[in-house]
């Protein structure tokens, strides 16, 4: 259909006015291989933030954080959804595929390799101890990314209150994430719509 092609073109034109960087599929692929292989014991989102927002500046804070929230609430593993989001935003459907393959394929190889030797290493206390150590780096990365993101987004009382409410509900009270986000996200979006924009 011509209309769909036109929509694509209009979308592409709009994207280009937003000055999205030109990212090669190869660069996208290797970026996600890197984060895919770094994300031991959680912390994936922190490593993606570091790689995509900070080091390469492919996306700005807001675009990344919006994608992060959607990645967490829709079905699918969060790292995969995040790869789909970043890849699609930068290079469309093929970008989504390439980023996801980068995130998943090398990681599968590692999982299978570890499974092959697992019975030989799981009995050693050292294995658990080292994995715990690596997990702490993931938590540290998460705190670093969270702090940076918190300081860079708009510092309006409403936004701060929404952020704290989300943290307390999910982190402290351990309420289920889906209903919490289901209430707070629309509220936060409506409040943002009513604010004057720059």
């Amino acid at each position: 259909m011509d209309s769909s092609v036109d929509t694509e073109r209009v979308a592409a034109a709009q994207e280009s006015t937003q000055k999205l960087p030109q990212v090669s599929l190869k660069a996208l692929f290797f970026c996600f291989i890197q984060v895919g292989l770094t994300s031991f014991g959680g912390g994936t989102q922190a490593w993606v933030y570091r790689a995509v927002v900070e080091e390469r500046q492919w996306l700005d804070e807001k675009a990344f954080l919006a994608g992060l929230t959607v990645s967490q609430i829709l079905p699918g593993a969060n790292p995969v959804n995040l790869a789909l989001y970043v890849g699609q935003r930068l290079r469309g459907g093929i970008g989504a595929l390439v980023a996801t393959l980068g995130m998943v394929v090398p990681a599968i190889c590692v999982v299978l390799a570890v499974a092959a030797i697992y019975s030989h290493i799981s009995a050693y206390p050292l294995t658990q101890f080292m994995l715990l150590g690596i997990a702490t780096v993931g938590i540290g990365a998460t705190f670093a990314a969270g702090t940076k993101a918190a300081l860079r987004i708009e510092r309006k009382p409403v936004a701060i209150a929404i952020g704290i409410a989300t943290f307390v509900a999910v982190g402290v009270f351990h309420w289920s994430m889906i209903p919490v986000v289901g209430v707070l996200a629309p509220l936060s979006i409506v409040l943002a719509l009513r604010r004057p924009h720059d």
């Binding site: 919006a66 079905p75 593993a77 459907g93 590692v110 705190f143 987004i153 952020g163 943290f167 889906i178």
Partner: protein, 176 residues
């Protein structure tokens, strides 16, 4: 063999669409299907597979790939992986396509502005939840804080950071 592959696909494809909030949401169901209903693994075997998928990099839903491999080799792995990832990915791309098309609209700006604080809240909530589950020792707290500080203030390579902490733990393990 073919019927086994079908069974594998039918275990993971529906769960893929139900994995709201990520892989942890469906782990209990994967255990139910593979241990209780199909009798493919014992509880201990499943616990080991779960531990491997947690300890290795990548999304925790890679436990599906591992289960597929254990049951039917490379073909099983391929079927399980595709069944686990394709349904949810199609839904995700379909939903976000609408959004990507409306770049520059006030709605999308409001959506991005509104979702940012929610995301920050979720990032800290996730970190806190993992911290509570790990019951860190003094060493654990120290490396967490040092890693956070180094990664906040410097552009240190993630691999170097992981390597240095792993080396520290190795040294501590053999010294005490």
């Amino acid at each position: 063999m073919t019927s086994l592959l079908w069974k594998i696909a039918l275990v993971f494809a529906p769960l893929s669409l139900l994995s709201f909030g990520g892989g942890q949401a469906i782990i209990a169901d994967i255990r139910l299907q593979t241990v209780v209903l199909n009798g493919w693994f014992t509880n201990q075997q499943f616990a080991d597979l779960f531990a491997i998928s947690r300890a290795t990099p990548g999304p925790n839903t890679l436990i599906a790939s591992l289960i597929g491999w254990q049951l039917a080799g490379p073909a099983g792995m391929l079927v399980a992986t595709l069944a686990m990832f394709i349904p949810s990915s199609l839904v995700f791309v379909a939903v976000t396509s609408v959004w990507h098309r409306h770049s520059g609209s006030p709605w999308r700006k409001a959506v991005e502005q509104g979702l940012a604080p929610v995301a920050v809240g979720l990032i800290f909530a996730g970190a806190l939840t993992i911290l509570q589950a790990l019951h860190l020792s003094l060493l654990g707290w120290t490396t967490t804080l040092v890693a956070a500080g180094v990664l906040y203030y410097t552009r240190t390579n993630p691999y170097l950071m992981i390597f240095l902490v792993a080396a520290t733990y190795l040294a501590v393990f053999f010294m005490f």
